[in-house]
């Protein structure tokens, strides 16, 4: 399914606004993660503004697709995407990590019940998504049409539990489950292939009976097509390995693992915001 030009431009502009919100949140909070939220922004945008069945004004709508964030540390992106979708006011984003906020440093359902899971400790999101997909399979068998989406970092492919869950997903032939791996090649201690080599990621997932699609994680059309293609895969869960550029959108942050776990200071944030706003202007002028 080809996305209309207009839709692509609209998604790009949305992702740009979300990246701006992320920088604004992080500089205000004074702590948090920068690289992952920036590089997954395009994928979250496609999911929340195109692919997923959900109703931001009715977060408890029973028929909604389920969205599980496994690597909870990229929650500035989740919060920004939810706010821009209409789940809560954009102004609330500035409360990130502050005492009494609904937007905890890592997502916690006690504070923001509209979240599908609380998360933070790596490696347990895929298991929970497998459980959700199994629940629908128990109730509706092969006819279950609701999609369960789960976002994983590439570093989480170092967790044994991720592979325990991958094995079960393959065994149970969970056609209703789509996982996305953020292949940004960085983690907190350095580049993934130095910390713990992960390649070949796609061969590993294939070996557990998953359908594997590799995409450019910043190409809206490729991302949207992959989510659509996953719906047509029978008898297997799908994993989309999204090749992303860590810190995407701010040249000075890109590909540098040192931006994994720190926020920009005020000066760096001003520079980043200027760059993102210039890009936003370009997208809009091309669009018009």
């Amino acid at each position: 399914m080809d996305l209309a030009e207009d839709k692509i431009e609209e998604l790009k502009e949305k992702a740009n606004q979300i990246r701006i919100s992320i920088i604004e949140m992080l500089v205000e909070a004074g702590s948090g993660h920068t690289a992952g939220p920036l590089d997954m922004a395009d994928i979250f945008t496609v999911l929340f503004f195109h692919t997923m069945h959900h109703k931001p004004k009715r977060p408890d709508w029973p028929e909604r697709d389920r969205f599980v964030l496994s690597n909870g540390h990229i929650c500035p992106l989740l919060y920004a995407t939810m706010a821009h979708s209409g789940y809560f006011p954009i102004s609330e984003l500035k409360t990130l990590r502050k005492f009494g906020t609904r937007l905890q440093g890592h997502p916690h359902r006690d504070f923001l019940p509209m979240l599908e899971t609380s998360s933070g400790p790596l490696g347990s999101g895929l298991s929970q998504a497998v459980g959700m997909a199994l629940s629908d399979k128990i109730d509706h068998g092969l006819t279950s049409s609701r999609r369960i989406y789960v976002m994983l970092s590439d570093g989480e492919n170092e967790c044994g539990q991720t592979w325990e869950a991958a094995m079960l997903g393959g065994k149970e032939k969970l056609h209703n489950l789509t996982a996305v791996v953020d292949r940004n090649n960085i983690q907190i201690d350095g580049y993934t292939e130095d910390v713990m080599p992960l390649e070949s990621l796609s061969e590993k997932w294939k070996a557990w009976n998953w359908h594997v699609i590799e995409v450019d994680g910043h190409n809206m059309e490729e991302i949207a097509d992959a989510f659509e293609a996953a719906k047509g895969i029978f008898g297997k869960p799908t994993v989309i390995i999204a090749h992303t550029i860590a810190g995407k959108g701010v040249k000075e942050f890109e590909r540098d693992y040192r931006w994994h776990g720190k926020p920009p200071n005020r000066e760096e944030a001003n520079m980043a915001l200027k760059e993102l706003r210039t890009l936003g202007g370009k997208i809009r002028s091309e669009h018009e």
Partner: protein
């Protein structure tokens, strides 16, 4: 004498008292819960027969999930099922669940507020020949520190069946501690049971010491009471099967009547049921306490009898602890 209101086994002190593994009660309880409630699902990590989940799995194959040797996955998959409205029961040996998967239970079940029911079988040292690796004597400690978690250690198979069925109606996570070995059946179908309620099983006239026991060792406590009666030492024996939430009112009431307390559990002394009792009484009504349990050691191979004697958890040890209280 035995509390007549509880309608306990009339053959309590008969040598031929019926003995059934506590885990059998879990298996039967889960089967009954599954018949009553279609939302109940069972998950196991390669120990389906050992944990007696096979009774449920055979009757409801569509609601049973075999995960292989993967206890971390076991806990979090159950969390995902609970998120969709299912009532998941997970089972393994206590050493592996909640032992190996404690962080997943903490974060994806308790912190995440998902009412998963956790059955830990083969708890305590009475597993015997398997040796120390398989003898969970830390599970009460690590579950009772978790917010939202209910912790139940049933005294026999009949109570385990009731606890399993009743846990379906709680909207919180529950840990049910099970033992492998055959255990005297002390209670009957008519014995009342309520999660969170302690019960006096034996009451002497003008008791000097209160014995608070949990799990299968409750029977040793009753044997000790009977023995002490011969010596005209009067004690009260309480079944504290729910360790969290603690029946504080019952504990304080008992403490007020006696000179001191003996706690009895097949678990490390540090952090277990005795610690929970001590926390409550130190705050509300301090009395001397002696703790029967494993004293900062690991288990080993041996018969149940040999191990109970070696680690000081037999009826003789309970009798001695009562005497100690009287001397304090």
């Amino acid at each position: 004498m035995l509390n007549p209101e509880l309608k306990l086994n009339s053959k309590m002190f008969d040598e031929k008292i019926e003995q059934v593994p506590i885990r059998q009660g879990f298996g039967e309880g889960l089967l009954a819960a599954g018949e009553k409630n279609l939302k109940v699902v069972g998950l196991c990590a390669d120990l389906t027969e050992s944990t007696k989940m096979n009774l449920f799995a055979e009757k409801f194959p569509n609601r049973f999930i075999e995960l292989g040797v993967a206890e971390q996955n076991l806990a979090s998959v159950a969390s995902g099922l609970a998120a969709m409205g299912k009532i998941p029961f997970i089972s393994s040996y206590a050493m592996f669940s909640p032992g190996r998967n404690w962080e997943q239970i903490r974060t994806t079940i308790c912190y995440n507020d998902r009412p998963v029911k956790i059955a830990g079988s083969h708890a305590g040292i009475s597993v015997g020949p398997d040796g120390g690796t398989h003898q969970a004597v830390e599970d009460i400690a690590i579950t009772r520190v978790l917010p939202r978690m209910i912790v139940i250690s049933p005294c026999d198979s009949v109570e385990a069946k009731k606890a399993t069925e009743d846990s379906v109606d709680t909207d919180t996570p529950v840990y049910i501690r099970l033992a492998r070995e055959k255990t005297p059946v002390m209670t009957t179908l008519k014995t009342p049971f309520k999660i969170g309620k302690a019960q006096i099983f034996w009451e002497g006239k003008k008791s000097k010491v209160g014995i608070i026991a949990t799990g299968a060792l409750l029977y040793k406590a009753l044997l000790a009471a009977k023995e002490l009666e011969k010596e005209k030492i009067s004690v009260t024996v309480m079944n504290l099967s729910t360790i969290k939430p603690l029946d504080e009112k019952a504990l304080v009431e008992l403490a007020k009547k006696v000179k001191g307390i003996v706690t009895v559990e097949e678990h490390q002394i540090r952090g277990g049921m005795g610690s929970a009792v001590a926390e409550c009484l130190a705050k509300n009504y301090p009395v001397p306490i002696e703790f029967i349990g494993v004293d900062d050691q690991f288990g080993q191979s041996g018969t149940q009898e040999e191990l109970m004697r070696y680690y000081g958890m037999d009826d003789k040890s309970i009798v001695e602890a009562v005497r100690k209280i009287l001397k304090r």
